[in-house]
């Protein structure tokens, strides 16, 4: 009796999980690939990361209690990546290969997945201003890389990290970007946003 019920529950969970992965797996794998900074053709590390996150979702499937399994997997993926971030520091030639692991994580959560600033900050354990500063810095770095690629016509080599003139110019543009964000949010948040911009420019 108990054994039959358990078998039925196992079967239902396996079917539901399979349907979930068939639907959301592609998008999740793309997010994982962006995080690990791998090119589209070679997604070994991203697959490993995603398998670990999906296994945790499977183990929790019966106790999700109405929570979206996609949200759970995304949060687990972000947590696992934040935990193992140092392994993915080496650039591998993907879209976000030039960014640091933290910048990649913020960019993927904020822009690719569309998670709100506050939720991103809560998930990463950072102040909201810091998340905003990191996002602005990452956007600036991505755009300058794209512009350079467009003007010179050559793909920048993935092996060189951002340094020297690039980083200083990124720093100044980030400051102006934060100023613009400060003006937009109004005078009330000015002190906080200024502190955030300062903290973002420090390292």
């Amino acid at each position: 009796m108990v054994r039959e019920r358990r078998a039925a529950r196992d079967g239902r969970r396996a079917r539901e999980f399979e349907a979930f992965v068939a639907g959301a797996g592609g998008r999740l794998l793309h997010a994982a690939t962006l995080l690990t900074g791998e090119p589209t053709g070679d997604t070994e590390a991203a697959e490993r990361l995603l398998t670990a996150a999906l296994a945790r979702t499977y183990a929790r499937w019966d106790r999700l209690r109405g929570e979206d399994p996609y949200d759970h997997t995304r949060r687990t993926l972000a947590a696992l990546f934040a935990h193992r971030g140092h392994r993915y520091r080496r650039p591998r030639g993907g879209t976000l290969a030039r960014l640091t692991p933290q910048e990649r994580l913020v960019l993927v959560l904020r822009l690719y997945e569309g998670v709100a600033e506050e939720q991103t900050a809560a998930a990463l354990g950072l102040p909201v201003e810091r998340v905003r500063a990191i996002c602005t810095r990452a956007v600036t770095a991505m755009r300058s890389a794209a512009a350079r690629r467009g003007t010179t016509g050559t793909r920048p080599s993935a092996g060189t990290p951002r340094s020297g003139g690039t980083s200083s110019s990124a720093g100044t543009t980030e400051t102006t970007g934060s100023r613009a964000a400060t003006d937009a949010t109004g005078a009330g948040a000015e002190a906080g946003a200024d502190a955030g911009a300062g903290a973002g420019a420090a390292p």
């Binding site: 068939a22 793309h30 991203a46 755009r143 964000a181």
Partner: protein
């Protein structure tokens, strides 16, 4: 207001890019690993409950044998004071 939005849209378009192909066995591998995690979790839970049960039974047996609440009543006289 639209200036940062435009920049973000531009980067968002960069992020969309071509999607990598999902390996067909990824769901199976993840489910297998998740099943093992779930099983391990259930085993740990069962062991914990059994330990708790054993502790409760052991305490009951000990209390029934020793009866620690049945202490002799306190004596109402102080011992004689000698040697002053």
């Amino acid at each position: 207001m639209s200036f940062p939005d435009r920049k973000e849209t531009e980067v968002r378009r960069m992020l969309e890019g071509p999607h990598p192909a999902l390996p067909p066995d990824l769901a199976g591998r993840a489910a297998e690993r998740g099943r093992r995690m779930l099983h391990r979790h259930q085993v740990v839970c069962t062991i914990g409950w059994l330990l708790l049960l054993a502790a409760v039974v052991a305490f009951g047996v000990w209390a029934a044998i020793v009866e620690p609440w049945a202490t002799p009543p306190p004596t109402d006289t102080t011992p004689p004071l000698e040697g002053w």
